[in-house]
């Protein structure tokens, strides 16, 4: 069964003559255990697509379904525990440790007090960031920040993990470590949806789609591609 489905999703920003379409009739499906990466240049709508897929933003038209349940009709709260949206920012201030921040995020989601610390530590261990538990967020480098952000997103054991530009701010020599981590999470059964403006961010994906001018271009198998017609019929 399809885990996530976007059906004819459209979104525009601005008003009147400034109204600019960002997503035009976008449809995609994602299965459990699948890693789908969206490639697009800046301002292509790739971040909007991910926020809509995570239920953080409503489309102007179309529907988003998680395990058949519409996120548009019921809001993201109903399915929030099943979606992990990866945020790099830890919010204002630099108080508390990484572990505290992950615990807080779990409590906000309604997790039981006695469970959250164990879940948070388990998530940090899973992403290879256990050594960051007692650090403050400001003490993390780019790669650690990404690992911790993924830990926070998977602490609630979501079915879908959404990561906006996972290699942004990551040391190029350690970029593949993050992609390997995402690949391994998908291999464990989590559906992973990411985006990137670099081809280097597509490695390890099961599918890579391109987004441009608000349109999503699916994979085409060249053998099945239409014959290129160089002349219009008279």
């Amino acid at each position: 069964m399809t885990l996530l489905a976007l059906e004819n999703v459209s979104k525009a920003y601005g008003r009147g003559s400034d109204r600019r379409p960002v997503l035009c009739d976008v449809s995609l499906q994602l299965d459990g255990g699948e890693l789908l990466a969206i490639w697009g240049i800046r301002h292509s709508g790739r971040s909007t697509l991910l926020r809509i897929a995570a239920g953080l933003e409503r489309p102007d038209s179309g529907d988003v379904r998680l395990e058949g349940e519409s996120l548009v009709g019921h809001g993201a709260d109903a399915v929030s525990s099943r979606i992990g949206y990866c945020r790099r920012s830890f919010g204002p201030g630099d108080t508390g440790t990484v572990l505290d921040r992950i615990v807080e995020s779990q409590l906000v989601r309604g997790a039981l007090h006695e469970e959250v610390s164990i879940r948070a530590r388990r998530a940090l261990l899973r992403v290879g960031a256990e050594q960051c538990a007692s650090l403050r967020p400001s003490q993390l480098d780019g790669t650690e920040t990404m690992r911790v952000a993924i830990a926070r997103a998977i602490a609630s054991e979501p079915r879908l993990l959404v990561v906006d530009d996972p290699t942004l701010g990551v040391d190029p020599l350690r970029r593949d470590e993050i992609l390997l981590l995402l690949r391994s999470l998908a291999d464990e059964g989590i559906a992973v949806l990411t985006n990137t403006d670099r081809a280097t961010g597509l490695a390890g994906a099961d599918r890579a789609l391109a987004l441009g001018d608000g349109e999503l271009r699916g994979e085409v198998h060249p053998t099945l591609a239409p014959v290129v017609q160089l002349r219009r019929p008279a």
Partner: protein
């Protein structure tokens, strides 16, 4: 290094008295590189050739290595020096001459320019389809899918030090390819936008009353 700078180097080199004819044989060029990397004897060079270039360069026969070494020697790009071995009859070693080193540098620069020329040729051939933008858009579409496919199957590596020079070479090649795909995907996006504008103009012109 930019193409212009590379051309400048080649031109300035061309004005000098010494200007060896450019090597045409890919096997000879690769072999010359191996001799420059480490002077050695025929059999060892043949083994290194297979290890380094086995997937990329096909030898008509294993003995072609010796033919190629002889050709390089006759062109004074490599020279034979006596081997040193106390145990047995020392094998003659090959080492690169200054002329050989210069020829190898020229070969690398020429490789880069050839690649650029091929791309420019493709751009011109695609631009010929400007009056048929929809046909060009279909080509762009297929081209893009191929690049996306190549990007997603790129091997992933841990950030640690490479195990061997061969794995380091493989890593450098993979990174070069991935960074190249980066640029191409962005270029494809640009080309698509331009072609869409051309298609809109073309459609508008056709729908205008005559």
């Amino acid at each position: 290094m930019g193409a212009r700078r590379a051309e400048g180097i080649l031109e300035s080199r061309g004005t000098q008295a010494r200007q060896p004819a450019r090597m045409q044989s890919a096997v000879q060029c690769a072999l010359l590189g191996l001799v420059i990397e480490r002077p050695s004897y025929g059999y060892e060079l043949a083994r290194r050739f297979e290890h380094t270039y086995g997937e990329l360069l096909h030898l008509s026969a294993p003995s072609y290595i010796y033919t190629a070494l002889d050709a390089l020697r006759r062109r004074e790009l490599i020279e034979e020096v006596p081997g040193v071995s106390a145990q047995r009859l020392p094998k003659p070693h090959y080492q690169a001459t200054e002329k050989g080193r210069a020829a190898y540098r020229d070969h690398l620069l020429a490789q880069m320019l050839t690649s650029q020329r091929r791309r420019h040729l493709f751009f011109r051939e695609l631009a010929v389809l400007a009056h048929e933008p929809e046909a060009a858009l279909e080509i762009i579409e297929i081209y893009e899918q191929e690049y996306l496919k190549a990007a997603k199957v790129a091997p992933l590596r841990h950030g640690g030090p490479p195990d061997t020079p061969a794995s380091f070479a493989a890593e450098l090649a993979a990174e070069d390819r991935r960074l190249g795909i980066d640029g191409t995907l962005a270029w494809l996006d640009h080309a698509r936008r331009r072609l869409k504008i051309l298609a809109e103009h073309s459609n508008a012109a056709q729908s205008e009353p005559r």
